[in-house]
């Protein structure tokens, strides 16, 4: 059975059709790429899947359950986590605290216990902190755990976003341009890291990326969007030579 299935997912903003009848299917363990020129509707697709927007029509099924229009926080607890294209860290919080918030949905004590600082709440907080520390090791940020997240370099902030999303222990991880603003060396490290997330942590990964070399090396299956419509899908080798894709990126031959 597929993990995530979009069936003719469509969203319109007034007269603008941002995503038009996009359908694709992810299986468990996929490394899936979503590419397309600027304004193609990639991030909007992410926003539909994570409940930021409600699709105008079409269905989105996650683990056999329809999730179109479900609130973001519910979707996160169902097992979909994401990062953001324009980094959205909790800037004033420390690196560790950012990841703790990611784990907060697995926290099962009430507000009263926190207000009275009772042992259940203390223990849960300590457990989340320990788990967060482990995740920081995965993304190589353990040495800056106490630094304010806004003070990190750009590449580090992107990695922290991944760690924070992983802290929700999702089955499906959506990465929105994880390599943007990284230098070639950082991109290499990220490539290894994303593979590791899939292989060792068992998460299915769907990512948006503009760096073609990065996507082609990493992803096993790719969907290409242009002007909100799906124009191609398949393995990287097929996408690379697809005339429609080349036309979308470079323009038609005159």
């Amino acid at each position: 059975m597929s993990l995530l299935k979009l069936d003719a997912a469509t969203i319109k903003f007034g007269g603008l059709v941002a995503v038009n009848a996009v359908s694709f299917e992810l299986n468990k363990g996929d490394l899936f790429g979503l590419i397309g020129p600027n304004g193609a509707g990639k991030t909007t697709t992410f926003n539909i899947v994570t409940g930021v927007y409600k699709p105008t029509s079409g269905t989105i099924t996650f683990k056999g359950r329809s999730i179109g229009g479900t609130p973001s926080n519910k979707i996160a607890s169902l097992g979909i986590a994401r990062t953001f294209q324009n980094i959205r860290l909790f800037k004033a919080l420390s690196v560790l605290e950012n990841v703790v918030v990611g784990g907060y949905l697995r926290h099962n004590t009430g507000l009263m216990s926190a207000l009275a600082y009772l042992p259940p709440s203390i223990n849960e907080t300590n457990r989340l902190k320990a788990e967060a520390m482990e995740l920081l090791k995965v993304v190589n940020l353990a040495h800056v755990a106490d630094v304010r997240s806004a003070d990190l370099s750009y590449g580090m902030q992107r990695r922290l976003e991944i760690a924070r999303a992983m802290a929700t222990q999702p089955e499906l991880l959506l990465l929105d341009e994880p390599a943007a603003g990284m230098n070639p060396l950082e991109k290499e490290e990220l490539l290894v890291m994303v593979k590791k997330i899939r292989d060792e942590h068992g998460m299915t990964v769907l990512l948006i990326e503009h760096d073609m070399r990065f996507v082609m090396n990493l992803c096993e299956k790719i969907v290409v969007l242009d002007h909100g419509e799906e124009i191609a899908s398949g393995p990287p080798s097929a996408i690379r030579n697809d005339p429609k894709v080349i036309a979308a990126y470079l323009g038609e031959a005159v």
Binding site: S72, N73, R88, L93, V101, L115, H143
Partner: protein, 400 residues
């Protein structure tokens, strides 16, 4: 075991401290007792608003409304039921405190649930509007005394209860911030979309903070009603909301320490200025020229200090020396300017009683603090012993 022992001990220390404060204040004048009570109430108000505004990031400027709900509910209950209840004053005071808190919490829930979908300025307008609605509604309700106000019988003064409420409010906020739940509140302040995507129930966090903050304001209101013995809608006007907000912002939004310190400072400063005496014992008077000289000195000092702190290339020592220099310079400027200006006839003749200027001084203090430290006195920091020891360490550089 050790945990509960420490917990028990700290509660005991808090109660003993508050009772001690009341005993110590007992021998003081009514005026001093009044100041202590009001300072305690303002600490509760500003720390509880800090929970809503600073920690959860919901810009509410209608805090006085919840203060008022608590005051009128507590006062009304006292008038109606104190004698039939047969309770001694202090337990009764605690009953009205709880009732006022519960009433304000319900009000907070009713207002919060629909309006917390709004953000920033829009939420501010709704809370401001709600504050006015409550005030005007009470003003037009004869059963509550209308705009004449309501006499609250019996009058009960207990500095210990006032400060215990303040300490409870501080303790709850501090506890919250130490747990993952508190971090989720902070996350809501930082970025609602991201915290929702991480599974934080944003609405629930906001409403919880709003209800809790309102409850403490309501509790403080009930204490105020019993303390004053007389309340009118004018006691809870917009200016009260704004002064509480000022306390939060001045202390540094999000910092509990900041809210406490600035609540005490801002509630006592006007009173201190009111009582200023000259050497001969009369009210302190200065000539117009001297007042102008003070203003010039303040402007000079602020300008120099701001310039020094905006220049990133300076070392800490250099900054401190310049700040110190600016202060000494300001004193010199003040002396020279006042001597010079006092030579000018009309300015020398105009006598100004300083306690008439107290609101001006209050305003100038705020302006100066906001110019020199826009993030608030304590910014996001909290007082702690480790924080004290960290002050001496050099700032760490972040390696890429």
């Amino acid at each position: 075991m050790k945990f509960w022992l420490i917990r028990l001990l700290s509660v005991a220390v808090a109660i003993l401290g508050c009772v001690g404060l009341q005993v110590a204040a007992g021998s003081q004048s009514d005026y001093v007792q009044r100041l202590l009570t009001l300072a305690g109430l303002y600490v509760t108000l500003s720390v509880s608003l800090n929970l809503i505004n600073g920690i959860t990031g919901q810009f509410s400027i209608g805090h006085a409304a919840f203060y008022q709900v608590g005051a009128y509910l507590g006062g009304f209950l006292s008038v109606r039921f104190f004698h039939t209840s047969g309770l001694p004053p202090i337990p009764w005071l605690i009953v009205t405190l709880i009732a006022g808190a519960a009433g304000a919490a319900i009000a907070g829930f009713v207002v919060g649930l629909p309006s917390l979908r709004l953000k920033g300025d829009y939420l501010a307008i709704v809370t401001l509007g709600f504050g006015e609605i409550i005030r005007i509604q009470v003003q037009n309700t004869p059963a509550l005394g209308g705009s004449y106000g309501m006499n609250v019988e019996p009058k009960i003064t207990s500095i210990a209860v006032v400060w215990l409420l303040a300490i409870l409010c501080i303790a709850i906020c501090r506890n919250l911030l130490k747990t993952a739940t508190g971090l989720s509140f902070l996350a809501v302040r930082e970025d609602e979309v991201a915290s929702s995507a991480m599974g934080v129930n944003v609405t629930r966090a906001k409403v919880s903070a709003f209800v809790l903050g309102s409850a403490f304001a309501g509790g403080a209101g009930a204490l105020l009603a019993s303390f004053e013995g007389f309340i009118t809608p004018a006691t809870f006007g917009m200016d009260v909301s704004f002064i509480i907000l000022t306390m939060v912002v001045l202390g540094g939004t999000g910092s509990i320490t900041g809210s406490v310190v600035s609540a005490i400072f801002l509630s006592l400063l006007p009173e201190y200025l009111r009582g200023l005496k000259s050497a001969s014992g009369g009210p302190l008077t200065l000539t117009g020229a001297t007042v102008v000289a003070y203003m010039v000195a303040v402007v000079v000092a602020v300008a120099v200090i701001r310039h020094v702190y905006q220049d990133g290339g300076r070392t800490k020592i250099n900054r401190l020396l310049w700040t110190f220099g600016a202060l000494i310079g300001a004193v010199i400027v003040q002396i020279i300017a006042s001597v010079a200006l006092n030579k000018i006839g009309p300015m020398h003749e105009k006598q100004i009683v300083i306690n008439q200027l107290r609101m001006v001084i209050f305003a100038v203090t705020l302006i100066v603090l906001m110019l020199l430290r826009p993030q608030g006195v304590f910014a996001h920091h909290e007082f702690s012993w480790t924080w004290l020891s960290k002050l001496r360490e050099p700032k760490k550089e972040v390696a890429a």
